[in-house]
Symmetry: D2
Subunit: 467 residues, 4 copies
């Protein structure tokens, strides 16, 4: 059996391609929208992608199943156990518990494991020449992770009760049917917000998890649920939107990426695209020194899609400011993965073109931690805004700082004074750059980014407070 | 923990890179000589390769540890338990049972598991934040495979006794210390000749193997050994040579591949390189229709290195005939992996250059299975030579055929008559092409390749015999 | 001024991209249908393709102007001087003599130079900061080549009279307006059939051509025309078709190549695509040893499109047999360039899949020149068919051979006896392989390809005849 | 004849590969040190590089002839007419005037055309089947450019007299032997400092230049020389060094680039490489917002090598700060081209690693032109330093600014006050960033970069002065 695990950093998504060496047919499980990787892999390994399977309706990325179907003609197999509301229209086959799929010598069996979502399936893969009774591995999607289980709180408070109960049953009534030695391949790795504390290993076994995962330790249901929900990180605002997009079926992109149109500095200056949002993906330092007024900075990197989902509006077309045209495919792929499809183009000639046109520039002050420390010891210190997560904040912060999670800044803006300099700090300066650009765009005039963030603060031995 | 499994098809080698996300240090386990893959991976993932580990002295490929050390400065860690004879000179640290290595949060512990070789180590990898007592996974090298164990018979009959006994002990005394749920990552996959019947899945667990692997079923030692050795495929002649090369330390290649020199048809015709062997890697059909007299055909593909190891002499420089210069790096990499380093160059302009120079051509007759069937029903049928493995032969063959394993043809040549047409058959025509080219090169004048081989014979419903 | 000349080997097409460094606007002249090269170049050099220009309606390849327009939004500028019949519908601007186009500091002026076609334009490019009166260079399309002029005989005997007269006037009345030192960039290079004897240099000057090109030597019109037409090679049958396709406007391909569908050997054997033609692009030797009955062999290489235009029917869908899937894009691009758009897919698993299925095989005998020589000296020699051009034939051929240009074989088939072995010879064996495959496909049973062709025959010192 | 012109942007170097299609031998003319391009081209086109020719001892880049010889075994052909001092030791053949080289049908003849240097050769290329008397083209090196001639003033005032006289003779006594229609392929294009005003077209003809190039207009020698030298831009300091390197023969690099070693932030902070210079190639904005104290900024781009030659010392090892490891090969290639070979490595993790380690940061203030304008109208305006060329300065500058060519800043540092804020302006901000980083590194505390530079100043309609 051919087995390939593919990782998308940042969103920390695992997708899979499993093939039968005899028939040369392959199934792809939980693809993202940028399906070229799988098309290329199938070509190079000599497989035909004939089936596409989903474990559940994803909340953190747009499903690539419809896209891959359009490119290959493969059939899509999804759970029907969440009802019509959660059954994507592009499905060719709607499955119930224990339905299966044959691929040469392989059998893939759908096991209903609700909890993260109502319809969630775990796929048990049987390597039939070795055993027809015991699966070789489980594709557990967002039900069971390395070191964790999928969170049941993404569909709102009401659903949370139902889902948490289902999750408890899936963990303690469904999973026990499978032996300790079963391999487990999850839908996410470390960094994903679909769980609380995912481990970095790409796979695990049921026995290892039973022994070492707090989430699999048997307890009374109420206690287990309380422990699970304690300290759960907040979910990005875009998650509920993603679920809708996936349940309704996303737009097909096709082989050509959008956003390839170069737009002149003059076009941008005169806002030819009136309602457009300017997304600047240059490094935080470059943005700090010179930016187009009103633009939002999310530096290019694995975390771009998550933060784009947190802070960008879904109803405004996007224009990109990038370092070089070669960056375009990567940026656009990141945005498409979280459903930000309306990308109008990019600033031709980059920020240089804007600068040499003599248009106005915006700046964010940069501070080293030593400079911030000095400012804090002077008469009128800045307002220190810490935009990290709750857990990071609790592990230690700058004395006197105020904590607002970066993803909630738009909602809690009234807590940030406009008449004082604001120094934004995060772990390293990345999230702070997003926050400073946002504050600038809504009229804060004196905003600074503490470069190196709390990592630098700690490395420099500066004082920490814990609440 | 960063975990990457890399597969080399044909030789069916698994190598690994494991990294500690904090320190960004990585260890590479059992690399092949073409180390660019790991250099590129480390670069793209932001890791520094600081350590190289071996499980044992390999028999089927040249170790890339010395090469990788030369390119990275990493230290090499090998077993010293086979004595000085089996301790490569390029090692920086020579290990005993239970020695270990720390890489940030990871601990890698050397477990002595002799049997395939005297010095063989299994590496137990501890993901210490989750458990300091139980390893997350075992890198079992050629000790334990998916569905099989490593063969103890590669070092000759005398050593076989010792090794088989040790293997029994490793399986039934060492391995039981690890729980069922331990993940197992072996050194080879399906197709490798380092075991009898390796499975195609890239990993497994101890429990799955204990339950479904015949090799792990408890029996009295003598019986277990007899079962293990029964039906063991013969090992390629080059295996013993590889062991010597690895034990002594191979030559460093450096970043530039050898063999890049174009040689004219006239150079080849006049044998400017007197002792050179001409290796033609074009498809079997192309070779059959027109070849340089005396050349050996091993068509480019994953099995090229194994067959090169079987049939090519190690003391003659090689000149290549390839379809196009773009194939050169792949061919040369294949040869380097099995220690065929002395590659002089390639025929400039390909076979066209030879043809248009008006030099003599050699041909192998091609036969469809229908044509062979007709010939066999006529008065003077050809001598049908089946060059497959013993197991394939026993599963059914052409009535009246004679069986000589392709790798043993040079030794058993006297069994093949020179005064009759010889029709060579294998599984599909690949091995038959190697054999026909060899027969031609030693003076057999009427040789044919049965295209499609036994696959075609069976598909066409022609009669089968079993002994 | 940015200046890039792009060469397509085989069809020997020169296309151009010229850019204005200030405005970063670029014009592309005479693109082929595979426009990715220009899109990539524009991206990497920072230009926007804003204009597309044609010199004339091409006969030897499908114009890529419509394709490039669809991908860039650029405007297309063509000659209207051939009347509506020769004005492509995708044109945005239809030009008359001396119309021009401004691109920043550049001026491009359309000069009517009929002769190869009625509407033919030469583009004079003025580097205006240096001179507004004298062009820096001429883009002469198929009017003026290095060492030759474009042929006036492609539109039939009647038009030939008109065009030859116009060509004489273009050469001796229009061209003299430009000084000796004008650079000349033509639309084709050596190997193109749009002229008689094109030189291999990529550019020239008017003065060099006036001094050394036989076609520019002043003579009485009748004599000049007679000399020009003497020894003109025959034009491929597909030329007239291409003109129609270009004049009507070709289909838009888009970014994804057709023909990517793998088809099983069983699909082909059972002719699921009833009317399909199987095109085998493997090397001539591979085809000779084993082929699907009825398939046509045009080995992959620069000359594939020309020969595909010569010998393939335009009304049958095509299925490909290729060495490896990686060859697919190149093969498909070749076919698209000459308008063979209906490509259904390719044989999955290559010829191996056909062979191992046990399906019947077809073979072409291969002969070295020495073997042919021996056969000719025996009692019943084969019928030797020479498929080279008239000029090659006249320069020397095998005594007793019969000459039929490979492109005319279908028309003159009755000249080839069916009851004798036929040995086909060309320059090296390439064209002979096409011819042998054709003969096989129409029922000739004993056909052989003389490998190395006349090059080998001469190199071996075998006897030559001249008529 | 195969003809390929290769352009290196920034240094604006043209190198050439010319091949004979029959013998498949090729000559490369004036290669740079990064010879992979030519190796790849030769491979893909099926040529063997058998000869390497130089036009002269280059001043602006390190010759790649020795490197290419080491990789191919080709012979190197150089002029001996400058005497032993100017004859590189790696030459295989030392030529005199009218010596020639045969390459199949091509003849390449060395024409002594001194003036730019003593030994300078122009190579006349004869396409012998067309004409044995008149060359098809001239490779004019740094003797004759599009729109200009090579400068005679690079070897010091004394040599300038001799060279200027020789140049006059080469132009008016040697060149007239060749007809107007001769094509001219020069050694440099627009942007090179080896001439005064090179045109952007990649080639020209003698006639076009005779008619439109001021440098070819016949005048009395003294007047011609005076005009030629008037307004000559100053030559970079590194030119004289390059000449020495080339005359003595540069070090061979081999296929692996130096500088691949990642160095930790801690290594840099503790200056483990004591004498090292830190070269930061990030965009000017990124550098402005956060930099390692003492580092020099030359943003990655085509002009990096010229400015590296201007401002970097040749006796200090270099450590790089780059945006991403993928930039490394480009940066290193740029440095090698101008002989900066001692590259120790790069900052692992980029500037982020420095920032999160809590190390001190340096900043350059950025100003828009509007902000500078406001500052100039206030009480204590900054010292405005204009670092452009003389010609740019004279075409208009900011009233009250002081002009020091960026390449001369180190020598004229005493003209820049340390006790006032310094605002540096150039054309767009690129050169200003280099200058500000230098000023910072030598202790100027208040330095700002006027982003957009004079382009922005003019676009914004701000007042201009001319002296």
């Amino acid at each position: 059996m051919f087995f390939h695990q593919r990782f998308v950093p940042g969103l920390a998504i695992y997708s899979y391609m499993i093939g039968d060496p005899k028939s040369k047919e392959a199934v792809v499980i939980d693809p993202t929208r940028d399906v070229e990787d799988f098309l290329r892999l199938a070509r190079s390994e000599g497989y035909r992608i004939t089936h596409i399977m989903e474990t559940h309706v994803h909340a953190d990325f747009v499903s690539g199943s419809a896209e891959l179907k359009a490119r290959t003609g493969a059939t899509v197999h999804v759970s029907g156990l969440g009802g019509p509301e959660w059954t994507p229209p592009y499905a060719d086959r709607v499955l119930r518990d224990r339905d299966d799929l044959l691929l040469g010598n392989l059998r893939l069996e759908a096991i209903h494991t609700p909890g993260h979502t109502l319809e969630h399936l775990t796929w048990a893969v049987y390597d039939q020449p070795r055993s027809r009774e015991v699966p070789a591995l489980l594709l557990t999607g967002d039900f069971l992770f390395v070191g964790d289980v999928g969170r049941p709180d993404l569909l709102g408070a009401e659903m949370q009760k139902i889902l948490a109960h289902q999750l408890y049953k899936s963990v303690f009534s469904v999973l026990p049917a499978f032996p300790d030695f079963t391999e487990v391949y999850p839908g996410h790795g470390a960094g994903s917000l679909c769980g609380k504390a995912l481990g970095a290993r790409p796979s695990t076994t049921l026995g290892y998890e039973r022994r070492f995962s707090p989430a699999l330790r048997q307890k009374p249901e109420a206690e287990w649920i309380a422990d699970l929900l304690a300290g759960m990180p907040i979910a990005p605002a875009y998650f509920s939107r993603m679920k809708q997009v996936n349940a309704r079926g996303p737009r097909i992109i096709g082989p050509e990426l959008p956003g390839q149109r170069p737009l002149s500095a003059s076009d941008l200056y005169h806002r030819r695209c009136e309602n457009c949002l300017i997304l600047d993906v240059r490094p935080k330092e470059a943005f700090a020194a010179a930016a187009i007024p009103g633009s939002i900075n999310i530096p290019l990197g694995a975390n771009l899609p998550t933060w784009a989902g947190w802070v960008l509006p879904y109803d405004r077309p996007i224009i990109l400011v990038i370092n070089q045209p070669a960056d375009l495919p990567e940026v656009v792929t990141h945005l498409l993965r979280v459903g930000l499809d309306d990308i109008q183009g990019y600033l031709d000639g980059g920020i240089d073109a804007w600068e040499t046109a003599g248009y106005p520039l915006e700046r964010v002050q940069t501070l080293s931690v030593h400079e911030l420390d000095q400012q804090l010891q002077r008469g009128s210190p800045p307002f220190v805004l810490d935009v990290r997560t709750e857990a990071e904040w609790q592990a230690g912060h700058i004395p006197g700082a105020i904590h607002i999670h970066g993803g909630l800044l738009q909602q809690r803006l009234q807590q940030v004074p406009k008449d004082r300099p604001v120094a934004v700090v995060c772990g390293s300066g990345y999230r702070a750059s997003i926050a400073t650009s946002y504050l600038k765009s809504v009229g804060y005039s004196s905003v600074s980014n503490v470069l190196g963030g709390m990592a630098a603060w700690k490395a420099a031995g500066l004082p920490l407070a814990t609440d």
